[in-house]
Symmetry: C2
Subunit: 342 residues, 2 copies
Amino acid sequence: MQDKEITIYDLAERLNISATTVSRGLQDHPAINKKTKKRIFDLATELGYRSNKFASNLRKQKTNTIGVIVPRLNSLFMSSVLSGIEKIVNNAGYNLIISQSFEQEAKEKTNTTTMFNSRVDGLIVSLASDTQDFSHFDTFIKKNIPVIFFDRIAESIQSTKVLIDNFKAGYKATEHLIEQGCKEIVHITGNTARNVYKDRFEGYKKALSDYSISFDPTLFISNDLTEQSVQDALINNVLKRDKLPDGLFITNDSSAAFALTILKEAGLKVPEDIAIVGFNNDLISRVTEPAITTINYPGNEMGENIARILINHLDGTGDLSFTSTVILNTELMVRASSQRKK
Amino acid sequence: MQDKEITIYDLAERLNISATTVSRGLQDHPAINKKTKKRIFDLATELGYRSNKFASNLRKQKTNTIGVIVPRLNSLFMSSVLSGIEKIVNNAGYNLIISQSFEQEAKEKTNTTTMFNSRVDGLIVSLASDTQDFSHFDTFIKKNIPVIFFDRIAESIQSTKVLIDNFKAGYKATEHLIEQGCKEIVHITGNTARNVYKDRFEGYKKALSDYSISFDPTLFISNDLTEQSVQDALINNVLKRDKLPDGLFITNDSSAAFALTILKEAGLKVPEDIAIVGFNNDLISRVTEPAITTINYPGNEMGENIARILINHLDGTGDLSFTSTVILNTELMVRASSQRKK
């Protein structure tokens, strides 16, 4: 379907100059004068010449591509992280290949094989919800292809990890609810096989314990955080309890906003009857009524950090040992959904 | 940094079988028995063998990669489209390379050059806000590399376009506000150099005209739709008018939700004082109080459609002429933010 590839020899012949001059001109070599460079560039554009990066990469065993595997692309948090990654790697001359595991270990394994065969120079991963075996990353580690985990990490793998202090965030969210007078705090979260959910849950339990509130396992709900699951958890569980809970800590803002609408529809007053804390600080947490108290999780900044660490490592200018763990700061953003004491 | 590449000859030597057998085994050829296949696969995994797609692609002049250039990654609409595209191209054995123009023509041009030099088999584009010259796509067209435009398209380029009927959507949104009794309808939108904003604006004007309401240019505000711009437009313009408008049609849901909070803070009742219609049907439009009337714009479905058309074209099984325009259906979702007549 495509025409014959244009080479620097074709350009040289048409311009009646040497192939060396064409090659230098295309690389903006100072020995070639501006007028000649312009003639070379104009003809290259006209004929559709493509720099032969592809073949030269094959020789160098470098593809200048970075692979990213995420659970799902369509969340605002994930797209902010991706946006941050793309900005940095693109400026550094790398292409970004993305794929999604749809939260499934099997798909994640297929994705890593594809990335491996595509010879990515580095891999950035946030784990699927149900991944239990991590052997699909071994081939990368063995070949010294750097793998960075972010957000949902594999603790057992020796590689760079970029994340927030989920324990502390979970603790702060829960402590805040306790300080507002809540005593029966529901925690709705994802699969605690993943560090992000496990650590937030541990923070939740530690805060309860520090304030002498005993942990009630029936107030802890772990699901896939889809709208359907959040609705089920609230309507078939939380709202059917003899004594209604007075606090809700739910680990993303979309779910928190959706939960807020369900609780209001059920006739509850927020924060008077039930105080709510979300997670991420997405725009959605600021437009509900009341606005939702949340943990600021800077996705874009996280993406830029990940990309910088990886690029510096690939360029050999990194000042970090490649097995470091980078913890980004978070903060509690107090808004009306949880303020019961003014 | 990487070790020497493992070849099928290395595998053959270690297993004491022929390279042909290894090659056939790796391709799951029926002539090779299961036990041998397992030995080949196990050793290939152990040694980190990578199928030499890269070199074979070089010969075939095919890279099995598809490039996507979007204005920004971090919007829920865009990430839904990307998610739909990724799902289909990944299943078809293609990699997805993504980049963002950050709404700038210059960056978009650089992105297209990178995609061209990366030898993508096809390109999917939604234009930057300020792109006026389209010559950067010429090299693709000349080389018969398919380019699909979606959402924000270039009408003058002969290629497939996938979009919604923006004129009709703009008409329906405005007509609905008129039917609810609105007479002074503000329209806040993006750069009308882009078809999506121009066509919605034309629909808005046509609806006004059909209902004998004269178009007031001071009620039309075109900006970049960032939070800052929406805030400026409302606080320094709309809310300072002698007579406050009674309707607002604003062309994305995040902006609509944000506008709603500003108008409520200013003491206006929605929909009684001012009725609001947004665009996209993002989750955010359902969690505000009141919930926001909007146009359902199926991003994920659009992404899947785009990818299917492109893959079928690349595989030679497409039943569409590659210069077709595909118009996806939209519908008005009426919610409380605009219902003044019950």
